[in-house]
């Protein structure tokens, strides 16, 4: 963990102004990345820093904004890194990283259909988990309601 803080610092200096350190609980190496720099950061992480494994990519609705959280790790240097990106609630859009990490493909489809986040450059954005004929919007957004949705009484 201790020598990993170099990692966050080196990222901060390589992408000055685009990457900032995040303090998360439990303690871990985490950075917040500007939307515009996502592809560059991941290319750098894969090609120069030996991060070869994307273990998860998830959406979060934080009410006033949306987030995408990437967890990547390295099988050769045994390090982990959490990458967060903040997006606006209205017309959120982000570049795909599925050509950098192939594992991102289905995760991005999932985030696209459940949170309504536009994925620019993704080759195939058909619904993955939702039914093919789904027309009820993006069910993981806060405050979403739709057909048969029964809100739990307090």
């Amino acid at each position: 963990m201790s020598d990993n803080s170099d990692l966050v610092q080196s990222l901060e200096s390589t992408f000055a102004g685009k990457v900032s350190k995040l303090d998360l609980v439990p303690a871990q190496d985490a950075v917040l990345v500007e939307v515009s720099a996502v592809r560059d950061v991941f290319k750098h992480l894969r090609d120069s820093l030996k991060f070869d494994y994307l273990s998860s990519l998830a959406g979060v609705d934080a009410k006033d904004h949306l987030e995408i959280v990437y967890h990547i790790s390295s099988t050769s240097i045994k390090q982990k890194l959490t990458v967060k990106v903040k997006l606006p609630t209205e017309n959120p859009e982000i570049d795909t990283i599925c050509d950098i990490y192939r594992a991102a493909d289905w995760f991005e489809r999932e985030v696209h259909e459940l949170y309504g986040i536009g994925i620019k450059g993704h080759p195939d954005l058909r619904p993955l988990l939702l039914p093919e004929d789904w027309d009820q919007g993006h069910p993981m957004r806060k405050g979403w309601t739709g057909r048969d949705f029964i809100v739990k009484p307090e």
Binding site: L129, L130, P131, Q136, P139, W144, G146, D148, F149, I150, V151, K152
Partner: protein, 173 residues
């Protein structure tokens, strides 16, 4: 008369001969109730309990119930688990592919009424009876194999009481 003496009461042996008389309705019901072949098909965690019921410890075979891997050869469908909106058309299709008379057991809270996913769920159908008719509901999350066996016995009781005129299942809907 060795075999005939073991037959159910509604068989009437003719003294001295090798013949028995019975009502066709009752003979068919007896055959059906004693060989409810179920479809090899499971949806969620309840299916694990169904497999357990089918395996040697609880042994559905004792009731003449063997699984068939095709809806065409099945008499009974256990809806064993959560029916999602995405799965619902497939479940309905499987039901429609079964030959009549066909029976459905809704196993567990999910198949009965959405179960733990009744509230705050965008993906779960609130009960399989919204898309296909159900004969027996079994509560539980998941029901124990004993409950499932009880449900199967309840269904055979029901099948034994059927009239020839009931046999078009659409009448029941």
């Amino acid at each position: 008369m060795g075999v005939v003496s073991k037959l159910p009461v509604y068989f009437e042996p003719i003294p001295g001969g090798g013949l028995v008389t019975a009502k066709l309705e009752q003979v068919l019901d007896w055959g059906r109730a004693s060989s409810l072949w179920y479809m090899l098909f499971g949806l969620a965690c309840c299916a694990i309990e169904m497999m357990c019921t089918g395996a040697s410890r609880y042994d559905l075979d004792r009731l003449g119930m063997i699984f068939r891997a095709s809806p065409r050869q099945s008499d009974l469908m256990f809806v064993s688990g959560t029916v999602t909106h995405k799965m619902a058309p497939r479940v309905k299709l499987l039901y429609e592919q079964m030959a009549e008379p066909r029976y459905v057991i809704a196993m567990g809270g999910c198949a009965t009424r959405g179960g733990p996913f009744y509230y705050d769920s965008y993906s779960v159908l609130k009960g399989v009876d919204l898309i296909i008719p159900v004969d027996v509901y079994i509560p539980g999350c998941p029901p124990r194999p004993e409950s499932l066996l009880e449900g199967c016995l309840k269904l055979s009781e029901k099948v034994k009481k059927e009239k020839l005129s009931d046999w078009s299942r659409d009448v029941r809907q």
